[in-house]
Protein backbone atom coordinates (compact mmCIF):
# COMPACT_ATOMS: atom_id res chain seq x y z
CA UNK A 1 0.00 0.00 0.00
CA UNK A 2 2.67 2.53 0.87
CA UNK A 3 4.41 1.72 -2.39
CA UNK A 4 1.70 3.38 -4.35
CA UNK A 5 2.14 6.52 -2.34
CA UNK A 6 5.80 6.85 -3.19
CA UNK A 7 6.56 9.96 -5.13
CA UNK A 8 7.76 8.76 -8.49
CA UNK A 9 11.30 9.27 -9.53
CA UNK A 10 11.74 12.27 -11.70
CA UNK A 11 11.65 11.51 -15.34
CA UNK A 12 15.05 11.87 -16.82
CA UNK A 13 15.12 15.34 -18.12
CA UNK A 14 16.84 15.51 -21.44
CA UNK A 15 18.89 18.51 -20.48
CA UNK A 16 20.25 17.84 -17.09
CA UNK A 17 20.32 14.16 -16.61
CA UNK A 18 23.06 13.67 -19.12
CA UNK A 19 25.90 13.97 -16.72
CA UNK A 20 25.43 12.31 -13.41
CA UNK A 21 27.31 14.04 -10.68
CA UNK A 22 28.29 11.54 -8.10
CA UNK A 23 29.70 11.83 -4.64
CA UNK A 24 33.17 13.24 -4.86
CA UNK A 25 35.79 10.63 -5.57
CA UNK A 26 39.30 11.06 -4.30
CA UNK A 27 40.77 13.49 -6.71
CA UNK A 28 44.43 12.99 -6.03
CA UNK A 29 44.37 9.30 -5.93
CA UNK A 30 45.98 8.60 -9.28
CA UNK A 31 48.76 11.01 -8.51
CA UNK A 32 49.30 9.56 -5.07
CA UNK A 33 49.35 6.09 -6.52
CA UNK A 34 52.08 7.13 -8.92
CA UNK A 35 54.17 8.23 -5.95
CA UNK A 36 53.60 4.95 -4.16
CA UNK A 37 54.48 3.01 -7.29
CA UNK A 38 57.71 4.92 -7.83
CA UNK A 39 58.64 4.48 -4.19
CA UNK A 40 57.81 0.80 -4.11
CA UNK A 41 59.67 0.09 -7.33
CA UNK A 42 62.77 1.86 -6.06
CA UNK A 43 62.62 0.19 -2.69
CA UNK A 44 61.71 -3.11 -4.30
CA UNK A 45 64.76 -3.04 -6.53
CA UNK A 46 67.02 -2.38 -3.58
CA UNK A 47 65.30 -5.05 -1.52
CA UNK A 48 65.54 -7.61 -4.31
CA UNK A 49 69.20 -6.83 -4.87
CA UNK A 50 69.85 -7.30 -1.21
CA UNK A 51 67.86 -10.50 -0.99
CA UNK A 52 69.35 -12.00 -4.13
CA UNK A 53 72.84 -10.75 -3.38
CA UNK A 54 74.48 -14.12 -4.15
CA UNK A 55 73.16 -13.94 -7.69
CA UNK A 56 74.59 -10.51 -8.28
CA UNK A 57 78.10 -11.11 -7.04
CA UNK A 58 80.37 -14.06 -6.71
CA UNK A 59 82.47 -12.49 -3.98
CA UNK A 60 82.24 -13.35 -0.35
CA UNK A 61 81.63 -10.03 1.36
CA UNK A 62 83.83 -10.99 4.28
CA UNK A 63 86.74 -12.39 2.32
CA UNK A 64 89.84 -10.30 2.84
CA UNK A 65 92.82 -10.10 0.65
CA UNK A 66 95.02 -7.52 2.21
CA UNK A 67 97.19 -7.46 -0.85
CA UNK A 68 94.33 -6.16 -2.93
CA UNK A 69 93.25 -3.40 -0.60
CA UNK A 70 91.83 -0.08 -1.73
CA UNK A 71 91.55 -0.88 -5.38
CA UNK A 72 89.57 1.39 -7.62
CA UNK A 73 86.64 0.27 -9.67
CA UNK A 74 87.48 -2.40 -12.23
CA UNK A 75 85.70 -5.19 -14.11
CA UNK A 76 86.58 -7.64 -11.32
CA UNK A 77 85.62 -5.31 -8.53
CA UNK A 78 82.70 -3.23 -9.72
CA UNK A 79 83.03 -0.62 -7.00
CA UNK A 80 86.58 -1.45 -6.00
CA UNK A 81 87.76 -2.88 -2.72
CA UNK A 82 88.04 -1.58 0.80
CA UNK A 83 91.05 -1.44 3.06
CA UNK A 84 90.90 -5.19 3.69
CA UNK A 85 90.64 -5.93 0.00
CA UNK A 86 87.02 -6.93 0.31
CA UNK A 87 84.74 -6.38 -2.64
CA UNK A 88 82.65 -3.26 -1.98
CA UNK A 89 79.87 -4.25 -4.34
CA UNK A 90 79.43 -7.54 -2.51
CA UNK A 91 79.51 -5.81 0.86
CA UNK A 92 76.98 -3.31 -0.31
CA UNK A 93 74.58 -6.03 -1.37
CA UNK A 94 75.02 -8.24 1.65
CA UNK A 95 75.25 -5.27 3.98
CA UNK A 96 71.67 -4.31 3.29
CA UNK A 97 70.40 -7.54 4.72
CA UNK A 98 70.93 -6.91 8.37
CA UNK A 99 70.48 -3.16 8.14
CA UNK A 100 67.17 -3.25 6.35
CA UNK A 101 65.98 -6.12 8.49
CA UNK A 102 66.83 -4.37 11.74
CA UNK A 103 65.56 -1.01 10.52
CA UNK A 104 62.26 -2.44 9.40
CA UNK A 105 61.75 -4.69 12.41
CA UNK A 106 62.57 -1.81 14.71
CA UNK A 107 59.79 0.12 13.05
CA UNK A 108 57.18 -2.60 12.92
CA UNK A 109 57.45 -3.53 16.57
CA UNK A 110 57.11 0.00 17.95
CA UNK A 111 54.43 0.70 15.38
CA UNK A 112 52.28 -2.13 16.64
CA UNK A 113 53.01 -1.64 20.32
CA UNK A 114 52.85 2.13 20.20
CA UNK A 115 49.66 2.23 18.20
CA UNK A 116 47.88 -0.10 20.57
CA UNK A 117 49.13 1.71 23.66
CA UNK A 118 48.17 5.06 22.18
CA UNK A 119 44.75 3.85 21.20
CA UNK A 120 44.19 2.52 24.69
CA UNK A 121 45.45 5.76 26.19
CA UNK A 122 43.23 7.82 23.96
CA UNK A 123 40.14 5.69 24.12
CA UNK A 124 39.82 4.98 27.79
CA UNK A 125 39.89 7.26 30.77
CA UNK A 126 41.48 6.53 34.07
CA UNK A 127 44.73 5.27 35.44
CA UNK A 128 46.01 3.08 32.61
CA UNK A 129 46.18 5.90 30.07
CA UNK A 130 47.87 8.09 32.63
CA UNK A 131 50.48 5.47 33.32
CA UNK A 132 51.10 4.95 29.61
CA UNK A 133 51.49 8.63 28.92
CA UNK A 134 53.72 9.24 31.93
CA UNK A 135 55.92 6.42 30.77
CA UNK A 136 55.98 7.95 27.32
CA UNK A 137 56.95 11.29 28.83
CA UNK A 138 59.72 9.66 30.77
CA UNK A 139 61.15 7.83 27.80
CA UNK A 140 60.92 10.88 25.61
CA UNK A 141 62.52 13.17 28.13
CA UNK A 142 65.48 10.87 27.90
CA UNK A 143 67.52 11.98 24.93
CA UNK A 144 66.90 9.43 22.24
CA UNK A 145 70.47 8.58 21.35
CA UNK A 146 71.61 8.51 24.92
CA UNK A 147 69.09 5.87 25.82
CA UNK A 148 69.79 3.84 22.70
CA UNK A 149 73.52 3.99 23.28
CA UNK A 150 73.22 3.05 26.92
CA UNK A 151 70.88 0.21 26.04
CA UNK A 152 73.21 -1.11 23.37
CA UNK A 153 75.98 -0.88 25.92
CA UNK A 154 73.98 -2.93 28.36
CA UNK A 155 72.86 -5.48 25.82
CA UNK A 156 76.11 -5.72 23.92
CA UNK A 157 76.64 -5.03 20.24
CA UNK A 158 74.75 -6.59 17.44
CA UNK A 159 71.56 -6.49 15.45
CA UNK A 160 69.35 -7.86 18.20
CA UNK A 161 70.50 -5.31 20.74
CA UNK A 162 70.07 -2.47 18.31
CA UNK A 163 66.62 -3.70 17.48
CA UNK A 164 65.64 -3.95 21.14
CA UNK A 165 67.15 -0.61 22.01
CA UNK A 166 65.46 1.26 19.19
CA UNK A 167 62.15 -0.45 19.84
CA UNK A 168 62.32 0.33 23.52
CA UNK A 169 62.65 4.00 22.72
CA UNK A 170 60.74 4.62 19.55
CA UNK A 171 57.31 3.37 20.52
CA UNK A 172 56.70 6.78 22.06
CA UNK A 173 55.97 8.81 18.92
CA UNK A 174 53.62 6.11 17.71
CA UNK A 175 51.83 6.19 21.01
CA UNK A 176 51.54 9.95 20.83
CA UNK A 177 50.32 9.91 17.25
CA UNK A 178 47.84 7.18 17.87
CA UNK A 179 46.56 8.74 21.05
CA UNK A 180 46.06 12.07 19.34
CA UNK A 181 44.20 10.44 16.51
CA UNK A 182 42.12 8.40 18.90
CA UNK A 183 41.16 11.46 20.89
CA UNK A 184 39.87 13.03 17.69
CA UNK A 185 38.24 9.84 16.55
CA UNK A 186 36.60 9.24 19.90
CA UNK A 187 34.52 12.35 19.38
CA UNK A 188 33.55 11.34 15.87
CA UNK A 189 30.05 10.07 15.56
CA UNK A 190 30.92 6.74 14.13
CA UNK A 191 32.57 5.60 17.30
CA UNK A 192 29.48 6.68 19.18
CA UNK A 193 27.42 4.84 16.63
CA UNK A 194 29.51 1.73 17.13
CA UNK A 195 28.93 1.94 20.84
CA UNK A 196 25.28 2.55 20.25
CA UNK A 197 25.28 -0.67 18.29
CA UNK A 198 26.17 -2.29 21.57
CA UNK A 199 29.75 -3.30 20.81
CA UNK A 200 32.03 -3.71 23.76
CA UNK A 201 34.87 -1.26 24.23
CA UNK A 202 37.53 -3.77 23.33
CA UNK A 203 35.67 -4.68 20.17
CA UNK A 204 35.33 -1.03 19.15
CA UNK A 205 38.96 -0.40 19.98
CA UNK A 206 40.38 -3.20 17.89
CA UNK A 207 37.82 -3.33 15.11
CA UNK A 208 37.13 0.33 14.56
CA UNK A 209 39.52 2.61 16.35
CA UNK A 210 42.87 1.03 15.60
CA UNK A 211 42.23 0.30 11.92
CA UNK A 212 41.18 3.90 11.45
CA UNK A 213 44.08 5.50 13.25
CA UNK A 214 46.83 3.19 12.05
CA UNK A 215 47.37 5.12 8.84
CA UNK A 216 49.06 8.10 10.47
CA UNK A 217 51.48 5.85 12.27
CA UNK A 218 52.22 3.95 9.09
CA UNK A 219 53.02 7.17 7.26
CA UNK A 220 55.31 8.19 10.08
CA UNK A 221 56.90 4.75 10.06
CA UNK A 222 58.16 5.35 6.54
CA UNK A 223 60.44 8.14 7.64
CA UNK A 224 61.23 6.23 10.79
CA UNK A 225 62.88 3.47 8.77
CA UNK A 226 65.40 5.97 7.41
CA UNK A 227 65.90 7.30 10.88
CA UNK A 228 66.71 3.80 12.09
CA UNK A 229 69.28 3.39 9.35
CA UNK A 230 70.74 6.65 10.59
CA UNK A 231 70.88 5.28 14.11
CA UNK A 232 72.67 2.15 12.97
CA UNK A 233 75.24 4.33 11.22
CA UNK A 234 75.65 6.53 14.24
CA UNK A 235 76.06 3.55 16.52
CA UNK A 236 78.75 2.31 14.19
CA UNK A 237 80.47 5.64 14.57
CA UNK A 238 80.58 5.06 18.29
CA UNK A 239 81.74 1.49 17.74
CA UNK A 240 78.41 0.07 18.87
CA UNK A 241 77.06 -1.05 15.55
CA UNK A 242 76.69 -4.42 13.90
CA UNK A 243 79.57 -6.69 14.81
CA UNK A 244 82.09 -7.39 12.08
CA UNK A 245 82.56 -9.36 9.94
CA UNK A 246 78.82 -9.25 9.20
CA UNK A 247 78.75 -6.75 6.38
CA UNK A 248 76.69 -3.68 7.17
CA UNK A 249 76.35 -0.23 5.68
CA UNK A 250 76.97 1.54 8.96
CA UNK A 251 80.28 -0.22 9.37
CA UNK A 252 81.12 0.49 5.75
CA UNK A 253 80.54 4.21 6.15
CA UNK A 254 82.37 4.30 9.39
CA UNK A 255 85.31 2.35 8.01
CA UNK A 256 85.41 4.85 5.21
CA UNK A 257 85.41 7.66 7.72
CA UNK A 258 89.09 7.32 8.53
CA UNK A 259 89.89 7.76 4.87
CA UNK A 260 88.07 11.06 4.64
CA UNK A 261 91.11 12.90 5.90
CA UNK A 262 93.12 11.17 3.23
CA UNK A 263 90.71 12.44 0.61
CA UNK A 264 89.18 9.05 -0.19
CA UNK A 265 85.44 9.59 -0.13
CA UNK A 266 84.08 6.67 -2.11
CA UNK A 267 84.06 4.23 0.80
CA UNK A 268 81.63 6.43 2.69
CA UNK A 269 79.78 7.83 -0.27
CA UNK A 270 78.72 4.51 -1.80
CA UNK A 271 76.64 3.24 1.14
CA UNK A 272 75.42 6.78 1.74
CA UNK A 273 73.94 6.88 -1.75
CA UNK A 274 72.07 3.67 -1.11
CA UNK A 275 70.61 5.07 2.08
CA UNK A 276 69.65 8.25 0.28
CA UNK A 277 67.89 6.20 -2.37
CA UNK A 278 66.01 4.30 0.30
CA UNK A 279 65.13 7.54 1.99
CA UNK A 280 63.87 8.86 -1.33
CA UNK A 281 61.81 5.75 -1.95
CA UNK A 282 60.28 5.86 1.49
CA UNK A 283 59.54 9.53 1.12
CA UNK A 284 57.62 8.76 -2.05
CA UNK A 285 55.74 5.95 -0.38
CA UNK A 286 55.05 8.02 2.71
CA UNK A 287 53.73 11.00 0.79
CA UNK A 288 51.68 8.78 -1.47
CA UNK A 289 50.20 6.93 1.48
CA UNK A 290 49.49 10.16 3.28
CA UNK A 291 47.62 11.48 0.27
CA UNK A 292 45.65 8.34 -0.30
CA UNK A 293 44.74 8.07 3.34
CA UNK A 294 43.96 11.74 3.67
CA UNK A 295 41.58 11.68 0.75
CA UNK A 296 39.86 8.62 2.10
CA UNK A 297 38.64 10.52 5.09
Amino acid sequence: MPETKKIPVAQANKNYARIRLTGSKPRKRSHANAEIVIGCVLLGIIALMVIFAPLLTSYDPTHQSLREAMLGSSPEHLLGTDQYGRDIWARLLYGGRIDLFVAIMAVLTPLVIGTILGAVAGYFDGIVPTVIMRLADLVSSFPFYVLVIVLVFVLGNGGTSIFIAISAVSWVPYTRISRGETLILRDREFIASCKASGFSDIWVLFRHVIPNIASQGIVYAMSDIVMNLGIIVTLSYFGLGIVPPTPDWGQMMNDGQQFLAAGVYSLTVIPTIVIILISLALSFIGDGLANVLKVRR
Partner: protein
Amino acid sequence: MSGSKWLYIGKRLLLLIPTVWGCATLTFFLLKLTPGDPAVQALGPKASKQALAALRDSWGLNDPLWQQYLRFLGDLCTGNLGTSYSAKAPVAELIATRLPVTLIIMVLAAAFAVIIALPLSVWVATSGNRVVTEFVRILNAVAQGWPTFFLGAILLQVFAIQLGWFPIGSVSGGVDVAALVLPSLAVAVSIAPIIVRSLTQSLQDSVNSEYVNFGKAKGLSYRKVLFGYALRNGSISAVSVLGIQVGFLVGGTLVVENVFAVPGLGQLLMDSVMKRDLPVVQTLTVVFGIIVVLVYLITDLVYGALDPRAAKRG
Protein backbone atom coordinates in the same frame (compact mmCIF):
# COMPACT_ATOMS: atom_id res chain seq x y z
CA MET B 1 44.75 34.88 32.63
CA SER B 2 48.42 35.51 33.16
CA GLY B 3 48.02 34.21 36.68
CA SER B 4 46.75 30.95 35.37
CA LYS B 5 49.63 30.87 32.91
CA TRP B 6 52.12 31.04 35.75
CA LEU B 7 50.17 28.37 37.51
CA TYR B 8 50.43 26.26 34.40
CA ILE B 9 54.18 26.84 34.16
CA GLY B 10 54.50 26.03 37.81
CA LYS B 11 52.64 22.80 37.33
CA ARG B 12 54.77 21.85 34.40
CA LEU B 13 57.91 22.60 36.37
CA LEU B 14 56.65 20.33 39.11
CA LEU B 15 56.60 17.63 36.48
CA LEU B 16 60.37 17.94 36.44
CA ILE B 17 60.54 16.06 39.71
CA PRO B 18 59.17 12.75 38.45
CA THR B 19 61.14 13.21 35.26
CA VAL B 20 64.37 13.74 37.09
CA TRP B 21 63.64 10.82 39.34
CA GLY B 22 62.72 8.63 36.38
CA CYS B 23 65.78 9.56 34.36
CA ALA B 24 68.04 9.11 37.33
CA THR B 25 66.60 5.76 38.29
CA LEU B 26 66.62 4.42 34.78
CA THR B 27 70.21 5.44 34.24
CA PHE B 28 71.29 4.17 37.58
CA PHE B 29 70.03 0.67 36.97
CA LEU B 30 71.03 0.61 33.32
CA LEU B 31 74.56 1.58 34.23
CA LYS B 32 74.65 -0.99 36.97
CA LEU B 33 73.76 -3.53 34.34
CA THR B 34 76.55 -2.49 32.02
CA PRO B 35 79.74 -4.43 32.23
CA GLY B 36 82.95 -2.61 33.00
CA ASP B 37 84.75 -1.34 36.02
CA PRO B 38 85.08 2.34 36.77
CA ALA B 39 88.01 1.65 39.06
CA VAL B 40 90.09 0.44 36.13
CA GLN B 41 89.24 3.65 34.41
CA ALA B 42 90.37 5.69 37.36
CA LEU B 43 93.58 3.80 38.07
CA GLY B 44 94.50 2.76 34.61
CA PRO B 45 95.30 -0.64 33.22
CA LYS B 46 98.49 -0.98 35.20
CA ALA B 47 96.87 -0.73 38.61
CA SER B 48 97.07 -3.67 40.97
CA LYS B 49 94.09 -5.81 41.88
CA GLN B 50 94.30 -4.74 45.48
CA ALA B 51 94.30 -1.08 44.58
CA LEU B 52 91.31 -1.60 42.35
CA ALA B 53 89.38 -3.45 45.01
CA ALA B 54 90.20 -0.81 47.59
CA LEU B 55 89.05 1.95 45.31
CA ARG B 56 85.81 0.20 44.51
CA ASP B 57 85.25 -0.19 48.18
CA SER B 58 85.87 3.44 48.92
CA TRP B 59 83.38 4.39 46.20
CA GLY B 60 80.82 2.13 47.75
CA LEU B 61 80.57 -0.01 44.67
CA ASN B 62 80.61 -3.16 46.74
CA ASP B 63 77.53 -2.24 48.76
CA PRO B 64 74.18 -3.85 48.00
CA LEU B 65 72.47 -2.25 45.06
CA TRP B 66 69.58 -0.79 47.01
CA GLN B 67 71.98 0.92 49.37
CA GLN B 68 73.83 2.45 46.47
CA TYR B 69 70.53 3.52 44.95
CA LEU B 70 69.30 5.16 48.12
CA ARG B 71 72.60 6.90 48.66
CA PHE B 72 72.47 8.08 45.07
CA LEU B 73 68.95 9.45 45.45
CA GLY B 74 69.89 11.11 48.70
CA ASP B 75 72.87 12.78 47.10
CA LEU B 76 70.75 13.90 44.20
CA CYS B 77 68.19 15.45 46.52
CA THR B 78 70.81 17.30 48.49
CA GLY B 79 72.38 18.54 45.28
CA ASN B 80 75.56 16.62 45.88
CA LEU B 81 76.38 15.47 42.38
CA GLY B 82 79.58 13.75 43.35
CA THR B 83 83.03 13.71 41.87
CA SER B 84 83.91 12.40 38.48
CA TYR B 85 85.83 9.12 38.65
CA SER B 86 87.98 9.98 35.71
CA ALA B 87 88.34 13.76 35.72
CA LYS B 88 88.63 13.75 39.53
CA ALA B 89 86.75 17.01 39.57
CA PRO B 90 83.30 17.84 40.92
CA VAL B 91 80.64 16.78 38.43
CA ALA B 92 78.82 20.07 38.82
CA GLU B 93 81.92 21.95 37.74
CA LEU B 94 82.46 19.72 34.70
CA ILE B 95 78.92 20.20 33.58
CA ALA B 96 78.73 23.89 34.30
CA THR B 97 81.57 24.72 31.91
CA ARG B 98 80.06 22.64 29.12
CA LEU B 99 76.39 23.40 29.48
CA PRO B 100 76.50 26.76 27.69
CA VAL B 101 78.24 25.18 24.72
CA THR B 102 75.59 22.55 24.24
CA LEU B 103 72.77 25.00 24.80
CA ILE B 104 74.21 27.32 22.20
CA ILE B 105 74.52 24.48 19.73
CA MET B 106 70.95 23.45 20.36
CA VAL B 107 69.61 26.96 19.96
CA LEU B 108 71.71 27.67 16.89
CA ALA B 109 70.81 24.32 15.38
CA ALA B 110 67.12 24.92 15.94
CA ALA B 111 67.46 28.37 14.44
CA PHE B 112 69.42 27.11 11.43
CA ALA B 113 66.96 24.30 10.94
CA VAL B 114 64.14 26.78 10.79
CA ILE B 115 66.11 29.10 8.53
CA ILE B 116 66.76 26.21 6.16
CA ALA B 117 63.34 24.67 6.39
CA LEU B 118 61.16 27.74 6.20
CA PRO B 119 61.99 29.01 2.71
CA LEU B 120 62.03 25.50 1.30
CA SER B 121 58.62 24.75 2.74
CA VAL B 122 57.16 28.03 1.57
CA TRP B 123 58.62 27.40 -1.83
CA VAL B 124 57.05 23.97 -2.13
CA ALA B 125 53.72 24.96 -0.62
CA THR B 126 53.21 28.01 -2.78
CA SER B 127 54.72 27.01 -6.08
CA GLY B 128 52.49 24.01 -6.64
CA ASN B 129 55.13 22.91 -9.10
CA ARG B 130 56.03 19.22 -9.33
CA VAL B 131 59.65 20.01 -10.15
CA VAL B 132 60.05 22.07 -7.01
CA THR B 133 58.39 19.40 -4.92
CA GLU B 134 60.64 16.68 -6.23
CA PHE B 135 63.74 18.82 -5.93
CA VAL B 136 63.05 19.49 -2.28
CA ARG B 137 62.21 15.84 -1.78
CA ILE B 138 65.63 14.88 -3.07
CA LEU B 139 67.27 17.50 -0.89
CA ASN B 140 65.42 16.03 2.06
CA ALA B 141 66.46 12.50 1.24
CA VAL B 142 70.09 13.54 0.89
CA ALA B 143 70.02 15.40 4.17
CA GLN B 144 68.45 12.45 5.91
CA GLY B 145 70.71 9.81 4.46
CA TRP B 146 73.96 11.72 4.84
CA PRO B 147 75.69 10.64 8.02
CA THR B 148 76.43 13.49 10.36
CA PHE B 149 80.11 12.69 10.75
CA PHE B 150 80.52 12.76 7.01
CA LEU B 151 78.67 16.01 6.74
CA GLY B 152 80.84 17.37 9.50
CA ALA B 153 84.02 16.39 7.67
CA ILE B 154 82.83 18.11 4.53
CA LEU B 155 81.70 21.25 6.28
CA LEU B 156 85.08 21.48 7.96
CA GLN B 157 86.90 20.86 4.70
CA VAL B 158 85.00 23.57 2.88
CA PHE B 159 84.29 26.25 5.44
CA ALA B 160 87.16 25.82 7.85
CA ILE B 161 90.04 24.67 5.71
CA GLN B 162 89.35 25.96 2.20
CA LEU B 163 87.57 29.16 3.07
CA GLY B 164 88.87 29.60 6.59
CA TRP B 165 85.65 31.22 7.73
CA PHE B 166 85.24 29.29 10.92
CA PRO B 167 87.71 27.90 13.41
CA ILE B 168 87.87 24.21 14.21
CA GLY B 169 87.84 23.28 17.84
CA SER B 170 88.84 26.65 19.08
CA VAL B 171 90.75 27.19 22.29
CA SER B 172 89.63 30.24 24.10
CA GLY B 173 88.68 31.09 27.63
CA GLY B 174 85.03 31.73 27.00
CA VAL B 175 82.63 30.04 24.64
CA ASP B 176 83.73 30.60 21.07
CA VAL B 177 80.47 30.90 19.21
CA ALA B 178 82.19 30.97 15.83
CA ALA B 179 83.45 27.45 16.45
CA LEU B 180 79.91 26.31 17.14
CA VAL B 181 78.44 27.51 13.87
CA LEU B 182 79.47 24.53 11.75
CA PRO B 183 78.48 21.93 14.32
CA SER B 184 75.10 23.58 14.69
CA LEU B 185 74.72 23.61 10.95
CA ALA B 186 75.43 19.90 10.80
CA VAL B 187 72.76 19.20 13.40
CA ALA B 188 70.37 21.53 11.64
CA VAL B 189 70.81 19.73 8.35
CA SER B 190 69.95 16.44 9.98
CA ILE B 191 66.73 17.66 11.53
CA ALA B 192 65.64 20.08 8.82
CA PRO B 193 64.05 17.42 6.57
CA ILE B 194 61.53 16.49 9.21
CA ILE B 195 60.61 20.10 9.72
CA VAL B 196 60.42 20.71 5.98
CA ARG B 197 58.01 17.84 5.66
CA SER B 198 55.65 18.80 8.39
CA LEU B 199 55.84 22.50 7.61
CA THR B 200 55.17 21.93 3.92
CA GLN B 201 52.23 19.80 4.84
CA SER B 202 50.67 22.29 7.20
CA LEU B 203 51.50 25.21 4.92
CA GLN B 204 49.82 23.46 2.05
CA ASP B 205 46.80 22.89 4.21
CA SER B 206 46.65 26.48 5.28
CA VAL B 207 47.39 27.87 1.82
CA ASN B 208 44.39 25.95 0.54
CA SER B 209 42.27 26.71 3.56
CA GLU B 210 39.06 28.59 3.61
CA TYR B 211 40.39 31.36 5.84
CA VAL B 212 43.10 32.14 3.33
CA ASN B 213 40.43 32.24 0.67
CA PHE B 214 38.41 34.55 2.85
CA GLY B 215 41.45 36.71 3.35
CA LYS B 216 41.85 36.99 -0.41
CA ALA B 217 38.15 37.66 -0.77
CA LYS B 218 38.51 40.57 1.60
CA GLY B 219 40.93 42.01 -0.90
CA LEU B 220 44.16 41.43 1.01
CA SER B 221 47.35 41.31 -1.01
CA TYR B 222 49.08 38.05 -1.75
CA ARG B 223 51.96 38.89 0.54
CA LYS B 224 49.72 39.71 3.43
CA VAL B 225 47.70 36.55 2.99
CA LEU B 226 50.82 34.43 2.69
CA PHE B 227 52.72 35.83 5.64
CA GLY B 228 49.90 37.07 7.82
CA TYR B 229 47.65 34.09 7.42
CA ALA B 230 49.11 31.02 5.79
CA LEU B 231 52.58 31.09 7.28
CA ARG B 232 51.57 31.99 10.77
CA ASN B 233 48.92 29.33 10.90
CA GLY B 234 51.04 26.77 9.14
CA SER B 235 53.96 27.24 11.49
CA ILE B 236 51.92 26.26 14.51
CA SER B 237 52.21 22.58 13.88
CA ALA B 238 55.85 23.00 12.92
CA VAL B 239 56.54 24.39 16.37
CA SER B 240 55.39 21.21 17.98
CA VAL B 241 57.38 19.16 15.51
CA LEU B 242 60.42 21.23 16.36
CA GLY B 243 59.77 20.53 20.01
CA ILE B 244 59.63 16.81 19.41
CA GLN B 245 62.86 17.09 17.46
CA VAL B 246 64.61 18.13 20.62
CA GLY B 247 65.24 14.53 21.49
CA PHE B 248 67.09 14.20 18.23
CA LEU B 249 68.68 17.58 18.66
CA VAL B 250 70.32 16.30 21.80
CA GLY B 251 71.28 13.12 19.97
CA GLY B 252 72.65 15.21 17.13
CA THR B 253 74.87 17.15 19.49
CA LEU B 254 76.31 13.84 20.71
CA VAL B 255 77.74 12.98 17.33
CA VAL B 256 78.51 16.48 16.31
CA GLU B 257 80.40 17.42 19.42
CA ASN B 258 82.60 14.40 18.94
CA VAL B 259 83.21 15.12 15.30
CA PHE B 260 83.86 18.82 15.69
CA ALA B 261 85.86 18.56 18.91
CA VAL B 262 83.34 20.70 20.71
CA PRO B 263 83.64 20.42 24.47
CA GLY B 264 79.94 20.13 25.19
CA LEU B 265 77.75 17.88 27.23
CA GLY B 266 77.37 15.40 24.37
CA GLN B 267 81.07 14.77 24.20
CA LEU B 268 81.29 14.55 27.95
CA LEU B 269 78.47 12.07 28.02
CA MET B 270 79.94 9.85 25.36
CA ASP B 271 83.35 9.90 27.06
CA SER B 272 81.83 9.22 30.44
CA VAL B 273 79.70 6.37 29.20
CA MET B 274 82.80 4.84 27.67
CA LYS B 275 84.71 5.34 30.89
CA ARG B 276 81.92 4.14 33.16
CA ASP B 277 82.13 7.44 34.96
CA LEU B 278 78.87 6.78 36.77
CA PRO B 279 78.48 10.07 38.65
CA VAL B 280 78.92 12.04 35.46
CA VAL B 281 76.65 9.89 33.34
CA GLN B 282 73.92 9.91 35.93
CA THR B 283 74.00 13.64 36.38
CA LEU B 284 74.18 14.21 32.65
CA THR B 285 71.11 12.16 31.89
CA VAL B 286 69.27 14.10 34.52
CA VAL B 287 70.50 17.36 33.01
CA PHE B 288 69.49 16.22 29.54
CA GLY B 289 66.12 15.18 30.89
CA ILE B 290 65.63 18.61 32.38
CA ILE B 291 66.67 20.27 29.13
CA VAL B 292 64.23 18.18 27.17
CA VAL B 293 61.40 18.83 29.58
CA LEU B 294 62.12 22.55 29.57
CA VAL B 295 62.24 22.62 25.80
CA TYR B 296 58.92 20.83 25.67
CA LEU B 297 57.58 23.43 28.03
CA ILE B 298 58.94 26.25 25.91
CA THR B 299 57.46 24.72 22.77
CA ASP B 300 54.14 24.40 24.50
CA LEU B 301 54.27 28.02 25.60
CA VAL B 302 55.21 29.18 22.11
CA TYR B 303 52.50 26.98 20.76
CA GLY B 304 50.06 28.50 23.19
CA ALA B 305 51.15 31.98 22.21
CA LEU B 306 50.75 31.17 18.53
CA ASP B 307 47.54 29.27 18.86
CA PRO B 308 44.97 30.76 21.22
CA ARG B 309 42.91 27.60 20.94
CA ALA B 310 45.59 25.62 22.74
CA ALA B 311 44.73 27.19 26.07
CA LYS B 312 41.17 26.04 25.69
CA ARG B 313 42.13 22.53 24.82
CA GLY B 314 44.18 22.46 27.98
